[in-house]
């Protein structure tokens, strides 16, 4: 099972996890990224490269499936305007081996951060806006997977 979705709308984490649990693998790992508030942030705007995004996320998932013995994975990435508390991204993996499930989950989120064509713009209460800078440590982390 490989499920990849790039969408504006929210999603049900429970449904994704239930599908992964049903694969009978023994272990399901997940990571959910949520818009962090504070500092007067009113919204995060996620721009992406529609012609590329789905194929690129798909490629990252295929890479994870060749590296770890996974029974299934599910990756959902949202775009558009998201307010604090909203989910941005979900990664779920199922495997017979808990280490494979957890490591591939970490790999996928690291790779999404540095290899998926999304850009975040912050909107603040005072009207200011700013594009989020890529963090060097994210690129280092993704490269760390070799």
């Amino acid at each position: 099972m490989k499920r990849v979705a790039v969408q504006a709308g929210d999603f049900e984490v429970a449904a994704e996890l239930a599908a992964l649990e049903a694969l009978g693998g023994g272990g399901v790992a997940s990571f959910t990224g949520v818009v962090r508030g504070g500092g007067g942030l009113v919204a995060l705007e996620l721009e992406h490269y529609p012609a590329m995004t789905q194929a690129q996320v798909d490629r990252i998932c295929d890479e994870a499936m060749t590296r770890w013995p996974l029974l299934g994975l599910s990756v959902i990435h949202r775009f558009g305007r998201l307010e604090p508390g909203a989910r941005i991204v979900f990664v779920g993996t199922a495997s017979r081996h808990r280490t494979a499930a957890l490591e591939s989950c970490a790999f996928l989120i690291d790779w999404l951060k540095s290899e998926a064509p999304f850009w975040k713009k912050e909107h603040f209460a005072n009207g200011a806006t700013g594009w989020v800078d890529a963090r060097v440590e994210d690129e280092v982390k993704a490269k760390g997977w070799g």
Partner: protein
């Protein structure tokens, strides 16, 4: 040969003021960096957006490439800052 489509994202798009445009296909052997320099030479938003290549990344036909990659017969070039998804 058909024109080359260039698509811009994030602050590159905002500074240039365009989502996308068609340009004459650069001469054979030209790299992404060569085209970026030519576009920056237009001045204004182009210079602001594309003047510092170290801050930019590119994709040719929806695949990430290094800036010294030859454009060749690619149909679509994307120029953007480093990605910040996830």
């Amino acid at each position: 040969m058909v024109a080359l489509t260039i698509v811009y994202f994030a602050w590159v798009r905002e500074r240039i003021g365009l989502d996308e445009e068609q340009v004459a296909r650069p001469e054979m052997g030209a790299t992404v960096a060569d085209l970026m320099a030519a576009l920056a030479a237009r001045g204004g938003g182009y210079a602001e957006a594309l003047g510092d290549a170290t801050r930019l990344r590119a994709a040719l036909d929806q695949r990430f490439v290094a800036l010294d990659t030859v454009i060749g017969d690619a149909r679509e070039l994307a120029l953007f800052p480093p990605v910040t998804g996830g």
